[in-house]
Amino acid sequence: MSEKDLLTISEAAEILGVSIDTLRRWDKSGKLNPAKISDSGYRLYDRIQIELFLNDLFGLAKDWVLKSIEIPATFYCSNSAEFQTRLIRMQSILEGKKELAPIFTLVVAVAGEIGNNSFDHNLGNWPDTPGIFFAYDAQKKKIILADRGLGIFTTLKRVKPGLNSDEEALKVAFTEIISGRSPENRGNGLKFVSKIAAENPIGLLFQTGNAELILAKESTALNIRPSPKPFRGCLALITF
């Protein structure tokens, strides 16, 4: 590692979009340690280490929903207008990739439905941090969305009081078309997601509460099972 690959703590904080204090905390907790300590005692970070940390998008989102860690500002959308702006930016990037021509518009629609679902169902009821985590890697063809909201079970129970578990709620959310739902005229976006995954090379891992759902690409199979680490809110990984 040459000296030019080393970043000061303020440079690393700037790239990651977090505060210097956060980096100090991450060092103490072991989440992200500096590559070395300078002779004068300053933390120095390896540029590649910072880039790898940023690349672990799913890990970052998971830590956010599980432990409420501070996340880089570049991945946080505090409101739906901000999400829309960033989604359009992603759309332009995906549109530029020839191999994605037949499906990019579906990928954007799926991400849009999942992200907006978070805002629609938690508006005025966010338990702590409002907004969503939204990140993507156009090279690796994956999109990660997460929220620290109420979760599918709690929000769906308002209109389907008979629901008993996260797994049941996931099944209803992704399969049951609710027509003319009143007074809540919403909630069919996830059916759209399962339809798109069934008919296209687009896959999904969706976790909420203590359950997770896997939609394999071009398959109608709905794999719902207990998730390893329960949390409130939702976490989604879209692959294409």
Partner: protein, 95 residues
């Protein structure tokens, strides 16, 4: 009367924006004659989602029935969204 959806944006994805677009449409369709068709043109739309579509198209199909004509361009997100909205509303769109 023909309405070009691209004038509301080319990425039509949230309920909130769909509702705003529907509200903005009202002043235009006030001039629609009694037996005149309302044509919705999708040309130029890049991404279309059920949330936006449900807020904009569902009330129109309820109000105008077969007088609402959708001019589809073959965009995959438009096609998939229209299919889902037909299931939700249990009414086929006229295309």
């Amino acid at each position: 009367m023909r309405i070009e959806l691209k004038k509301f944006g080319t990425t039509l994805i949230s309920r909130q924006n769909g509702r705003e677009a529907f509200a903005a449409l009202q002043s235009q369709i006030a001039a629609l004659a009694e037996n005149e068709n309302l044509e919705i043109e999708f040309d130029g739309v890049i991404t279309f989602s059920p949330s936006w579509g449900d807020e904009f198209l569902s009330p129109l199909v309820k109000q105008y029935g077969s007088r609402l004509i959708l001019i589809d361009t073959g965009n995959p997100s438009v096609k998939a969204t229209l299919e889902l909205l037909e299931k939700i509303n249990q009414v086929p769109f006229t295309r």
